[in-house]
């Protein structure tokens, strides 16, 4: 049985104590107050579920106390006790927000039941509130998902339209280059300036192409090749690709992997792209002198991989935005703002998830989960709280949570 926090308020000591004793016999402990003031000062220190309140008391009347309670502690339910002659007080009390009233002399059985009914109401309201909150949260998520989806479609359309003029620019610049290389044009003045300008044109086309291709790659890739993937090997490959860059910047790479990891069924190429994205981001975040930790763990029907770094971290207000297309804190030309957007798209297609936790100045931690089998995986089946992957995550999220 859940404990009901119960407060009895009555100026008749004997009556109050008797009721308290008899309720206690039936397993219902209670606090007591002899008048309205005492009642309110108890409530200030300790939250109560149900207050049983005598209406007729010297000093502050029961109705006044009731008004205070409904005002300051809306979650607390009040049961009024009225004298035989003053049952109208009870009606007034209900109008003022009491749960119900009982007329003295009361039957203990009645009181006992009323207290439970009041408590039931509290629990019901609580559950309803949670339900509303949950629904709100779900709606929020839906909005975000839908917005990302439409953004993706739009972005892909734009990218596709831009590719054609880009191709023309590239061919035109290439053609000019070919022309200037010809013997008859060898001696024209300011060759260097022209070459420099052409260089800029070509480099910019290159940059624009990277963006459009990444965008199209995200939206268009509905076909993926599922095969048996050794995540350990795959991760090791991805690490190899950034090792050189990491060494140059004096970044240590630590591995925490369980040697007995099984293979999973997924798309090796796409997972490698995700891992490479996360690792490259980590290298950029650390910049120089720091650590990147890659951890892997078997989590039931899923494999978890976390990439955490000791870099600059992600500002709280940016945590929601980092998965949106074109969001980047790197300087123009350095990042396309698509890496995480594409990564999340890939993971969702593969039935996986990605989460982030970060604290400014401490670093960031990206954890991805991949189903071991492509089909029959259920997002909602995701289990929580296992092992150190969760612990690493919680180390970040706790600190974040405190501020909210």
């Amino acid at each position: 049985m859940e404990t009901i926090r119960l407060l009895l308020v009555d100026d008749e000591d004997h009556f109050r104590q008797t009721i308290a004793k008899r309720l206690a016999k039936r397993g219902l402990a209670s606090d007591q107050a002899a008048d309205g003031n005492e009642c309110l000062s108890i409530l200030e220190k300790k939250a109560m579920d149900v207050v049983v309140l005598d209406v007729k008391m010297p000093g502050m009347s029961g109705i006044d106390v009731l008004r205070h309670i409904t005002d300051k502690y809306p979650k607390t339910e009040v049961i009024l006790l009225t004298g035989q002659a003053t049952a109208s007080d009870g009606v007034e009390g209900i109008k003022a927000g009491a749960f119900d009233y009982l007329t003295k002399p009361i039957e203990l059985e009645h009181l006992f039941n009323k207290i439970f009914q009041a408590f039931e109401k509290i629990r019901r309201l609580d559950a309803e509130q949670k339900e509303v909150q949950y629904r709100k949260q779900m709606e929020q998520q839906m909005i975000v998902t839908e917005r990302l989806a439409s953004l993706g479609t739009l972005a892909a359309g734009v990218a596709h339209e831009i590719n054609n003029p880009l191709a023309i620019i590239r061919e035109s610049a290439g053609w000019m280059r070919q022309l200037f290389a010809k013997d008859e044009l060898k001696d024209i003045p300011r060759q260097k300036d022209i070459a420099k300008a052409l260089d800029k044109v070509e480099k910019s086309v290159e940059r624009a192409c990277r963006i459009t291709h990444q965008l199209l790659g995200f939206v268009g890739k509905s076909e993926s090749t599922i095969s048996e993937v050794n995540l350990m090997e795959l991760t090791e490959e991805a690490i190899q690709l950034i090792t050189h860059e990491a060494q140059k910047r004096d970044i240590k790479i630590l591995r925490q992997m369980e040697p007995s990891m099984d293979t999973i069924w997924s798309d090796a190429y796409q997972i490698r792209q995700v891992l490479l994205n996360l690792l490259t981001n980590a290298v950029h975040a650390v910049n120089s002198k720091g650590t990147i930790t890659i951890a892997m763990e078997d989590v039931g029907d899923r494999q978890a991989i976390t990439v955490s770094d000791t870099g600059q971290g992600i500002a709280r207000e940016n945590l929601d935005k980092i998965f949106e297309p074109f969001f980047s804190t790197k300087s123009p030309g350095q990042g396309t703002g698509l890496g995480l957007f594409v990564s999340r798209g890939i993971l969702e297609k593969l039935g996986g998830t990605v989460e982030v936790a970060s604290k400014i100045g401490k670093g960031a931690c990206f954890s991805i989960r991949l189903p071991k089998h492509p089909k029959g995986t259920d997002e909602f089946n995701e289990r929580r709280g296992e092992g150190w992957v969760e612990k690493i995550k919680s180390r970040f999220s706790e600190q974040n949570g405190e501020k909210s």
């Binding site: 590719n163 191709a167 076909e223």
Partner: protein
């Protein structure tokens, strides 16, 4: 060594693109013809001997895939390199299954394009050579029978 020009047919509804790429390929010594739609492409193929078609996938009217099907049905020896504006490999895979030699993402690198053009041309030549040899054998056998 003298370069034997590859007879290239460039098919894209973007006229500027066809023009510029055409100029570059011609400068590199290829024999370039231009077409701006699938229908025009097939008309050219009927009249002219072509080695390799560089074909845009996304065109209004008869699209690249439909054009490719027609090319392979009516001119099976002509090699086709597809240009896809999609990041999707889907249409590329479809094209390859229908007999295209290879594909390139648009905007393609000129170097990659010429390299693929070269190998497409090579395959066409080799195929033509095999056919020629087989025909010779056939002729010999027939004349042997006599």
């Amino acid at each position: 060594m003298i370069k034997i020009p590859t007879r290239v047919l460039l098919v894209d509804d973007e006229k500027d693109f066809v023009e510029m790429l055409g100029l570059r390929l011609a400068e590199g010594g290829e024999n370039v013809t231009a077409a701006h739609s699938g229908r025009e492409c097939l008309q050219v193929l009927e009249k002219k001997e072509i080695d390799v078609v560089i074909l845009d996938i996304l065109m209004p009217g008869m699209d690249g895939i439909a054009t490719l099907k027609e090319i392979k049905r009516r001119f099976p020896l002509v090699e086709v390199i597809m240009l896809t504006g999609h990041g999707t490999t889907e249409s590329a895979v479809k094209g390859l299954k229908l007999g295209a030699f290879d594909y390139l993402l648009k905007p393609a690198h000129f170097g990659e394009l010429t390299a693929k053009l070269e190998s497409a041309r090579k395959r066409k030549d080799e195929q033509a050579e095999r056919i020629r040899k087989a025909e010779v054998k056939l002729l010999l056998r027939k004349s042997g029978d006599i």
